[in-house]
């Protein structure tokens, strides 16, 4: 079925996490007949187990719907479900760039949250028309007027056209669909006869189809058998499938201007398909590339080590496979004295890191040791050189360093007044600089909106968890990068029996070095099993010891009874101890189990 441009609506759904975005998308799909009732699973667009279990969207998803509106016209609706978490704002920005409008989902019981704000501003930047949808009106605590008021006051968006609805019960869904058709604009340009020009929105590897490329056609058409060219790298391919998601895969003859869908072209290597690239016709190329997207930049770094050293190759393969579907993951090999061979990985953020880790353990059955998350520092050397530091261990000799710069963020936090004090202290403790403190809403619904500049380093270290626990989960948080800044940063080293433990080295502000060092020493003290020898644990900056703990030596460890019947059992125990030694690291005359370092690295979990 071919649609003229003015009957096409490409739109994204944006929302804060947990505001029911995916459920609402499910309901839209079902209402338009994309799936039968029996085919509906919870959150059909969240494909991976992790997405479903955590109730989050990681990858943007596209679905084409057909809806016959009250005006009698059948519209083609291309819906993009976008991730709600701050880490994936990059994904969101891609989705928004390929649409003309957005549905802004606001939870009728929660109102506007920090993430809502960030995404709305992104949509506005992309010249989107926005239809606010007040979701979860079925809940007893729903307050549509309050939500509308917040949309107007906090975001500054006209909420008169807001559609009250419920993804859960289906109430208001037809009104929302009508609003999409009437309020959102059709695709702007698009010449069917012009040379093919299509935006590569996303790509992923499918074991049956090879690389699947999600596209938004601007001019011309994409059809089966057509020879195409990827303009960024000049790679040429023949299209073997053209289709759309309903959300089932449905093959089509072609994709025309304004339409979204997928193509496959026997591509095996995902690195050929650069997100944001322009796809054109091989023989009749378009004159200019589309502006594309800014590339994703890894913001948070940590290393993964296999708990079992024998799994190193498996980890390498698995990372390769994960990267097939996630171009934003960066990694390279590294070796640690404490943990053996592993990979230094770069992520979009902490959640991204967690998800990659979870995928590796779940899909590839790997037992991983992640090191403490860190950020990229810029080291200004006395000789004028500037070095980017990805791993604290690699910090050059301090005498050669002039200054160290760290990345900063601009964070927006929305929090009910009663928790404000705790959060102000948290931001202060994390070296935050307050830029703004205002109130939004009124009466019992009033919330404080905080804008702080914070060093990213302080945020990657359990900030989000603390924020959530201090506000009993009510605070919401979002951030954007805000350049680099010089600071009094030092390398905090942890030593066991005088020897540095590389995996535990971190760059911290001098003022927090002692607290962090003491914390790590205390934690290690509890984690390192007592041995025959006394173990000294120290935290040091350069040569200066700033904290110290001792693990006292074992005085007695002997089995009272050991006779003929005990040999096998005791030997098994001994074998277990011996086997454990493979995971032991030698520090002076003591052997420290890897597990102690691993547990110490999980410090942020507290």
């Amino acid at each position: 079925m071919s649609h003229t441009l003015e009957h096409i609506r490409n739109f994204a759904i944006i929302a804060h996490i947990d505001h029911g975005k995916s459920t609402l998308a499910d309901r839209l799909i079902q209402t338009c007949g994309g799936l039968e009732e029996r085919e509906m699973t919870e959150q059909v667009l969240d494909n991976t187990d992790i997405e479903r279990e955590r109730g989050i969207t990681i990858k943007a998803q596209t679905v084409r719907l057909e809806y016959t509106a009250k005006d009698g016209i059948t519209y083609q609706l291309n819906l993009m479900d976008t991730p709600g978490h701050v880490d994936f704002s990059y994904e969101v920005s891609r989705s928004l760039a390929s649409c003309e409008g957005s549905i802004l989902v606001v939870d009728a019981t929660q109102g506007v949250e920090a993430q809502t704000l960030a995404n709305v501003y992104m949509a506005i930047e992309n010249d989107h028309e926005i239809v606010p949808a007040i979701n979860k009106i079925d809940l007893p605590s729903a307050d549509v007027d309050f939500a509308k008021q917040q949309i107007e006051e906090v975001i500054g968006l006209d909420a008169s056209g807001a559609v009250p609805c419920s993804g859960k019960t289906g109430a208001g869904i037809h009104d929302l669909l009508e609003a999409i058709c009437t309020t959102l604009p059709p695709p702007k340009e698009g010449d069917r006869n012009a040379p093919t020009k299509a935006l590569l929105v996303d790509s992923w590897y499918d074991i049956y189809l090879g690389v699947v490329v999600l596209v938004r056609v601007v001019d011309g058409t994409l059809r089966k058998g057509q020879r195409i060219k990827f303009m960024s790298n000049g790679k040429m391919r023949e299209i073997d499938r053209v289709g759309m998601f309903t959300p089932k895969h449905v093959l089509l003859d072609e994709l025309g201007p304004g339409e979204m869908g997928f193509i496959t072209a026997s591509i095996k290597d995902i690195s050929e398909t650069n997100v944001g690239d322009t796809i054109t016709d091989e023989k009749r190329p378009c004159a200019e590339k589309l502006p594309g997207f800014k590339p994703s930049i890894p913001m948070v770094f940590c290393s993964f080590y296999p708990a079992d050293a024998g799994d190193f190759e498996k980890l390498r393969e698995s990372l390769g496979k994960v990267r097939l579907n996630d171009a934003s993951l960066h990694y390279e090999m590294e070796s640690s004295q404490a943990l053996g061979l592993g990979f230094r990985c770069g992520f979009l953020g902490l959640l991204h890191m967690e998800i990659i880790q979870e995928r590796l353990s779940r899909e590839f059955d790997l037992d991983l040791i992640p090191t403490a998350p860190s950020v990229v520092y810029k080291i200004n050397m006395t000789n004028g050189e500037q070095i980017e530091l990805y791993n604290p261990v690699d910090l050059p000799d301090v005498v050669k360093i002039k200054t160290i710069e760290e990345p900063w963020i601009r964070a927006t936090i929305l929090v009910p007044d009663e928790y404000l004090g705790g959060l102000l202290k948290l931001c202060q403790d994390r070296r935050g600089v307050q830029e703004q403190l205002t109130y939004v809403g009124s009466g019992s619904n009033a919330r404080a909106m905080l804008v702080y500049r914070l060093p990213l380093n302080e945020v990657v270290f359990d900030f989000y968890d603390r924020l959530k626990s201090l506000s009993k989960g009510y605070a919401s948080f979002d951030y954007e990068l805000d350049g680099y800044g010089e600071n009094d940063l030092v390398k905090l080293e942890i030593r066991v029996n005088e020897e540095p433990v590389d995996a535990l080295a971190m760059i911290v502000h001098r003022d927090s070095a002692e607290t962090r060092g003491r914390g790590m020493c205390e934690r290690l003290k509890d984690l390192i099993p007592r041995q025959m020898f006394k173990i000294a644990i120290q935290a040091a900056i350069g040569g200066k010891i700033i904290a110290r703990e001792n693990v006292s030596a074992l005085r007695k460890d002997v089995t009272a009874k050991c006779y003929g019947g005990d040999v096998s059992r005791k030997k098994k125990l001994l074998e277990k101890q011996k086997k454990g030694k493979a995971k032991m690291r030698q520090y002076g005359n003591v052997e420290i189990p890897q597990s102690a370092f691993i547990a110490a690295l999980k410090m942020g979990d507290e």
Binding site: M532, D557, A560, G564, K570, L574, K578
Partner: protein, 411 residues
Amino acid sequence: MPSERRLCKKLSSTLTNPAPLGASEKGQLGVYIHWPFCLSKCPYCDFNSHVREGIDEAAWRAAYVRSVEHYAQRLPGRQVRSIFFGGGTPSLMSPETAEAIISEIQKNWQVSNDVEITLEANPTSVEIEKFRAFQMAGVNRVSIGVQALNDTDLKFLGREHSAKEAIQAIETARKVFDRYSFDLIYARPEQSLSAWEDELARAQDLADSHLSLYQLTIERNTPFYMSHEQGLFSIPEEGLAADFYTLTQEVMEGYGLPAYEVSNHARAGEESRHNMIYWTYGDYVGIGPGAHGRITIDGRKYPTREHQAPDIWLDRAGKDGTAAKAEASLSHYDRFMEALMMGLRLRAGVRWEDLDRAAGHGESAQVFLDHAKLQTVQDQGWALCDDDGIALTQEGRLRLNALLPYILKEA
């Protein structure tokens, strides 16, 4: 080094076995008989013991006899040096059963003149009355589970006897048997060092020439484990436990009953011969539910393990003479590890040549040891090594469980 010279002397003077038992086929054999039943379960015990009524003793007797026959067929031409009735509470079995087993052993194997036949006994009046009959059956040594010499602690330990009965049992044993030993458990909750010292004084008055003194440990799968986890009682923390151990060593040394093994004390020459087979890694046959053995056949050392469940063991051993799964022979490394693990429990330590023989691969077993670490433990004063062998000091034995994996190399 003076310490080494001292060791040379020590090794040769304190290794009490005239001929090392080793793992040789011609070596002497110990026979362990496991009687799996008790009148009640003690809350600290994790042994394979069961409380059962209506035991068909004739069937059990037949199964033990059949089992002796089975192992004798597998190990022909051996000389039995020791028989040990353990459990459970083997003093609950009828003396006829003990006699039947002993005579079956005599029928099937050559038995040395100085064979040691030990019976573990509980000091209840019923069992004391049977001592004479057991002696008639061939038992020449009893090991009495006294555990404590005051009624409060006996009650805590879940024992079914009084301190008075325990003393009666010891008096009777002295009259009836050639040798006897008894067990005490120390480092009990609330026990003070001085109270234990007093108890040791009373114990040495009652003792013959052998005593087993065990520190109370909380084992998994015991009622004590649960109540200890729940915080219903606590046992001395490590420092105090170490003090208890050290005190015990000093006091007993003073009484002329030095520790020859971690928890066993004897006058010279009065060690438990049966247990010495375990600690010198000799061959022993294990008969009865859950009994373990180590037997050498054609130069290979096989572990044996009888089925734990009494009914299954009775059924299978009654028919086939064994309820053990066939097990692969032990590797050289395993043999070395077991021999070292057991040997280092002895004050006398273990000779290199015995370790080499135990490993049985025809070369020096020292390849299995990390010599740098061996040096470290010597420097710490925990071990003594010389050309003859290796022995741990008292402080070393106190840390045996941590020391062993430290000095062993990867397999």
